[in-house]
Symmetry: C2
Subunit: 245 residues, 2 copies
């Protein structure tokens, strides 16, 4: 028996999120189905980040146990033959038998991409959020700086969350502008349910001038979801990096 | 009666190319249908570049004549309400009554994007061509330099073409590498049928080491399609700029 870790990229457009659900297409469901077929075992993967419906990933992580003789690093090639083209295994490798991706300290990076122009770009519509309201990236960056560090992010967590603690650490949070595109890039030790999308929604309100950057400490201190801005739509969000420490 | 010019962006994935066809979904067909509905006239647009099935555009151009009173620059907003989300009008403006986009001197830029890594990236699969064969962008750039200038590009033209002359001028042709992505960017006064895709296919053969960069003058001089490399797949191609001189 060995434990294999997969690094998984996917286009989340056609999926009801990562986590297995009855009667819905999910990334985890496709991985389980294709791995079980490939290895002739009943495989159930353990995912690292349970991304929401419509969210994309360059490098989510999943582990599973198998008795197959095939070396762990070969599984990626065989599995990619079976997976739909919007899911690809970028790497497979054998790991310690007790490695659990959700019980490990990690650093994750998410990007939230916004097209800010008069009209949306058809070729980016599936991977960005579009708004024609002019956004001031400088104001968004000023606001973003207040979120860096160890804070109780209860105000940036959807009420449905069952997390034991809402304290998290953001190591870095940058707002970059590349022509018509604004990219919010955030790295932290973990993120609460909808946390990056609520950060993006709040920064966009500040970028539009509806709130001041200086209101962010008050939002954090409120410990109340209703103090923050709206949850930005899923399609703009992508998990771009995952490191285990 | 006035003539209106549209600047059109589209994701070509779901279309059988620009030009109207019976029983197939095309960009021109959608423009005609939505404009005719909006303006209550029988509108038939004249397109500038008849891009192939699966090819994308940031800025193709189409013109049409109308008696509507609505100012030309307002038509974009109204038309975008009717168009499917993979086609967007970025700009509409009134032009001279005799302006014809295919009878004008112009400069067009196309980009051909290649993902060159072990596995394809799901979120780029619709807008890039994937190859795991390592490509040497430096060799491709060396080869590209031979194509710049005024040449008879008959070797880079699919035999189905009905062009009167196969002489064209390439003003600039660059091969750039950004991490796992190689971008071929070509600007010219016009392109023959499949010309950019044949250039891309030929440069990729050279990038893989199957041919030498120095063979490009021989390919040009052969005036024979079979001398050049294969036609690269449509999905990697995007019309990115269009200027009338």
């Amino acid at each position: 028996m060995k434990r294999v870790m997969l690094t998984v990229a996917y286009d989340g457009t056609a999926y009801s999120g990562f986590q297995v659900q009855e009667n819905a297409r999910t990334i985890e469901g496709e991985l389980n189905r294709c791995l079980s077929g490939l290895l002739s075992e009943d495989i159930k993967v353990i995912g690292a980040s349970r991304t929401d419906a419509g969210v994309h990933a360059l490098c989510n992580v999943a582990v599973f146990d198998t008795n197959v003789r095939m070396p762990g690093e070969k599984i990626s090639y065989a599995l990619n033959q079976r997976l739909p083209e919007d899911i690809r295994i970028r790497r497979s490798e054998e790991v310690e038998a007790d490695f659990h991706p959700r019980h490990c300290e990690s650093r994750k990076t998410y990007e939230y991409r916004i097209i800010n122009s008069q009209f949306p770009l058809p070729t980016k519509r599936l991977y960005t959020y579009f708004t024609y309201n002019p956004l001031d990236a400088g104001r968004m960056q000023t606001a973003a700086a207040y979120l860096v560090g160890r804070h109780d992010f209860k105000s940036f967590c959807s009420v449905a969350s069952q997390a034991e603690t809402t304290v998290r650490t953001i190591y870095d949070l940058q707002v970059e502008q590349e022509n018509e595109e604004i990219i919010i890039r955030v790295t932290g030790n973990g993120f609460l349910y909808n946390m990056v999308r609520i950060i993006a929604g709040t920064l966009m309100e500040i970028g539009k001038g509806r709130r001041e950057p200086e209101c962010v400490p008050d939002i954090i201190n409120a410990l109340d979801r209703t103090a923050a801005g709206p949850t930005a739509p899923a399609c703009g969000l992508m998990l771009t990096n995952y490191e285990f420490l």
